[in-house]
């Protein structure tokens, strides 16, 4: 479990995150949702330590890593996997080398062992056969899957995904969502996902927090969505006609 307590983050005097407190549970897909520019990426980068919050606590299963020194942070980082918005695969390495890279840096495994583990991860994300390709030769969806394989190579306890579905068609998005969801449950990972995609929210929203211009204004599960009374949240969720219809349908059934 990851717990954020009273996180405040500003850039050059402009407050981006206003006193955010939230819990993210192990073995669940925890979603941070909100409009573009609402602060999702800033929150995620603060949680993993790529940005330093002005104040607050971030507890990884009770460990406050903001108080850690750099070598402790390094150790904690080997428990973290992250999937970036643009995949962030190393473009000078093949897919297999990308997945083997964390193993090379942080284990004493032999080449054969690393290769075996990397191939296992690639198979898990259904990318067998693409291992000798370069990232530039992959489609967007394949890049995301390769990045997931790399993120899980070291068996992380915590997995962060920043907009895993950005730039991907709806059908592939479902595949990626399902993959992240299944891996989370299979290995009991504390997974945090940034998204503004309502399909994802309805599909894998097991624990959701909603950011509205840097304020946490709603939290709940996908089942709670239709009973929400938060104005900004409803405006965000029911922006599309199809979601409005779903809401009407659900409410009629009540």
């Amino acid at each position: 479990m990851i717990e954020a307590k009273n996180i405040i983050k500003s850039f050059e005097g402009k407050v981006i995150l206003h006193n955010i407190s939230a819990k993210f549970y192990a073995g669940k897909t925890n979603l941070i949702i909100g409009q573009s520019g609402s602060g999702k990426t800033v929150l995620m980068k603060s949680l993993v330590g790529l940005l330093r919050p002005d104040s607050g606590e971030i507890l990884y299963d009770g460990r406050d890593f903001l108080k850690y020194n750099s070598s402790d942070i390094k150790d904690l980082r080997t428990e973290i996997g992250m999937l970036f918005q643009g995949s962030a695969l190393f473009d000078s390495m093949t897919v297999l080398e990308n997945v083997m890279f964390p193993l090379l840096m942080f284990t004493k495994q032999s080449y054969a062992e690393r290769k075996k583990r990397a191939e296992f991860c690639l198979e898990r994300v259904n990318l067998k056969g693409a291992d000798k390709l370069l990232p530039a030769e992959l489609s967007g969806g394949m890049q995301k899957r390769a990045a997931i394989a790399r993120a899980i190579a070291l068996n992380p306890k915590y997995l962060f995904c920043d907009e895993p579905n950005s730039g991907i068609d709806p059908k592939t998005s479902l595949v990626i969502d399902k993959l992240i969801h299944d891996i989370t449950h299979e290995y009991n990972i504390t997974t945090i996902i940034n998204t503004h995609d309502m399909n994802s929210v309805m599909g894998i929203g097991e624990n959701i927090i909603f950011l509205n211009r840097g304020h946490l204004s709603w939290e709940g599960t996908k089942e709670d969505i239709f009973s929400s009374t938060d104005e900004a949240f409803n405006e965000f969720v029911f922006a599309s006609d199809i979601m409005k219809e779903v809401k009407d349908y659900v409410n009629r059934g009540r």
Binding site: M82, F84, D91, M105
Partner: protein, 253 residues
């Protein structure tokens, strides 16, 4: 006045960030075996791949210096071996170190900053950091060590080819006899000039690799900013090389 103040302040702040980055770069590599492999890769990319351009430019400039020297010697009292001597001095003292460094600042410097800058804007550097890799050390240290250790080779190649360029003029035209040119090359030869050039080049290599890395590593934004960063890197490292040239010459000669 206010403008000048902010200009000075901004650049001091930038210099501070540069020093801080170097602090991150000069630490123990996470894994030596990985470092050595990356070092060899960089020697190929930054060093070997520059041999052709150094080779070509040096031979032509050597020839041109010899021709111009010959044209400028009008007095019959100046012996023709002077051409060899002066060509040698120009190449050893200034061309093979400083001018070569300026050319490398363009070629190597821009490639370093665009490579690292692209990694920054595509979040590859964040990906390294998240894994727990010291990205500055991992990416930049192999480049600095590769360029600093390989630049003496480039300087030596440049010297040899430059002198050979002058020799070819003597050999293939009737401007001056090549035997006199060779005699000139050997007269009043000071070995220290070679060392002076190589010592200077080590500093230049450090400037090129660190400045370019700094501009790449600190890019914010997208592809346009990467392009701008690499232009800035070339400009700043070129100016620094010229300033350093004056300073080192004052100290060493």
């Amino acid at each position: 006045m206010k403008l000048i103040k902010t200009f000075i302040f901004d650049n001091l702040a930038k210099f501070g960030r540069y020093i801080m980055l170097l602090g991150k770069v000069f630490t123990r590599p996470d894994k030596w075996s990985v470092f050595f492999k990356r070092y060899i890769d960089e020697v190929y990319k930054l060093g070997f791949d520059s041999i052709a351009i150094v080779f070509t430019i040096s031979i032509f400039i050597g020839a041109v210096i010899a021709i111009q020297t010959q044209k400028n010697i009008t007095s019959p009292f100046i012996p023709s071996y002077t051409i060899g001597m002066l060509t040698r001095e120009t190449i050893l003292l200034e061309f093979s170190s400083t001018i070569m460094a300026l050319i490398l600042a363009g070629k190597v410097g821009s490639s370093i900053s665009s490579e690292i800058g692209t990694m920054r804007v595509t979040e590859q550097i964040d990906a390294l950091e998240i894994m727990g890799v010291n990205s500055a050390n991992f990416l930049i240290l192999p480049k600095i060590t590769a360029l600093v250790t390989f630049i003496p080779v480039l300087v030596t190649i440049s010297m040899v080819m430059g002198l050979l360029g002058g020799f070819f003029v003597g050999e293939f035209t009737d401007m001056f006899p090549s035997s006199k040119y060779i005699y000139g090359l050997q007269s009043y030869f000071q070995e220290f000039y070679v060392w002076y050039s190589i010592i200077k080049s080590l500093f230049f290599a450090f400037v090129i690799s660190t400045v370019a890395s700094f501009y790449g590593y600190t890019v914010k934004g997208g592809a346009t900013e990467v392009g701008k960063a690499s232009t800035d890197a070339v400009v700043v490292s070129s100016v620094t090389i010229l300033l350093l040239d004056v300073l080192l010459t004052k100290i060493l000669l």
